[in-house]
């Protein structure tokens, strides 16, 4: 199953609703391109909604980290919303929960952006 991404604006924050699996190949390419395009358009407050992401592998984690470093390198912010238990566990064992700000409520997440 390919990764689908849809963007929407909420109070100055770009919320990206992702659906599918973020795995090696087309899906990670899609995610990297989505983030690069948003940064290219000057969007620097990005919230990735992972509520419908069923699966992430090491390549997908790499794409998330790459997005994070790109955004923070340009004074932007990348945060995560609605992790499934599976994805939460994956971020926990890889210690990436110490890197990403993670939210379970969209309004709270949007308000957290400076």
């Amino acid at each position: 199953m390919s990764l689908k991404a849809a963007n929407r604006q909420v109070d100055g924050v770009t919320v990206v609703d992702l659906n599918g699996r973020i795995v090696l190949g087309e899906a990670t390419t899609t995610l990297r391109e989505v983030l690069q395009n948003l940064v290219g358009q000057g969007q620097k407050k990005i919230l990735l909604n992972l509520g419908d992401v069923s699966y992430i592998d090491s390549s997908g984690l790499g794409a998330l980290v790459s997005g994070y470093t790109t955004l923070t390198g340009q004074a932007g912010q990348l945060k995560l919303l609605n992790l499934t238990k599976k994805v939460h566990d994956l971020l926990q064992i890889t210690k990436l929960l110490t890197v990403f700000e993670v939210y379970s409520d969209e309004s709270t997440a949007v308000r957290s952006f400076k």
């Binding site: 090696l24 190949g25 699966y55 592998d57 090491s58 790499g62 470093t69 890197v99």
Partner: protein, 138 residues
């Protein structure tokens, strides 16, 4: 499609092989009685090991193959993946959880294999290639 007790595949050194191995081994583990969580953990480990074999071991060389065998034994599912590359020393891999490595966009594959399976052995073959044997207890 195949008996639940044993499975053997020879895969091309292409990205498609990662999806193929994932799909077939997931079905094998389901037939073997694994829980959904066990299937997911096995699936992740197989994806990572086959991707390493294809892209790092065989370096995408179309002349080189990846072999995968899975078997149900008394203690669990045993999965063995071999490539035809130069091999590597697992002990030399940096720890991706080290704060200095957390922001790297690569280097988590072998860590996830070890975290997903109950027992993992990696060794260079005397002939050529790397062999990874993984066990998930049932």
């Amino acid at each position: 499609m195949f008996p639940a007790e044993r499975l053997a595949l020879v895969l091309e050194s292409t990205q498609r092989s990662v999806e193929l191995a994932d799909r077939i081994v997931r079905r094998f583990s389901m037939k073997a009685g694994c829980t959904e969580q066990q299937q997911n953990e096995i699936s992740l480990a197989v994806r990572e090991v086959v991707a390493n074999a294809v892209f790092h071991g065989n370096a995408g060389d179309a002349r080189k193959k990846v072999s995968l065998a899975a078997e149900v034994r008394e203690r669990g599912i045993v999965i063995c993946v071999r490539d035809e590359g130069p091999g590597f020393d697992p002990a030399s891999l940096p720890n991706p959880c080290d704060p200095a490595n957390l922001l790297l966009d690569h280097g988590r594959g072998v860590f996830l294999v070890n975290a997903s399976m109950d027992q993992v052995t990696m060794r260079r073959l005397d002939s050529c290639g790397m062999e990874v044997t993984m066990i998930k207890y049932l």
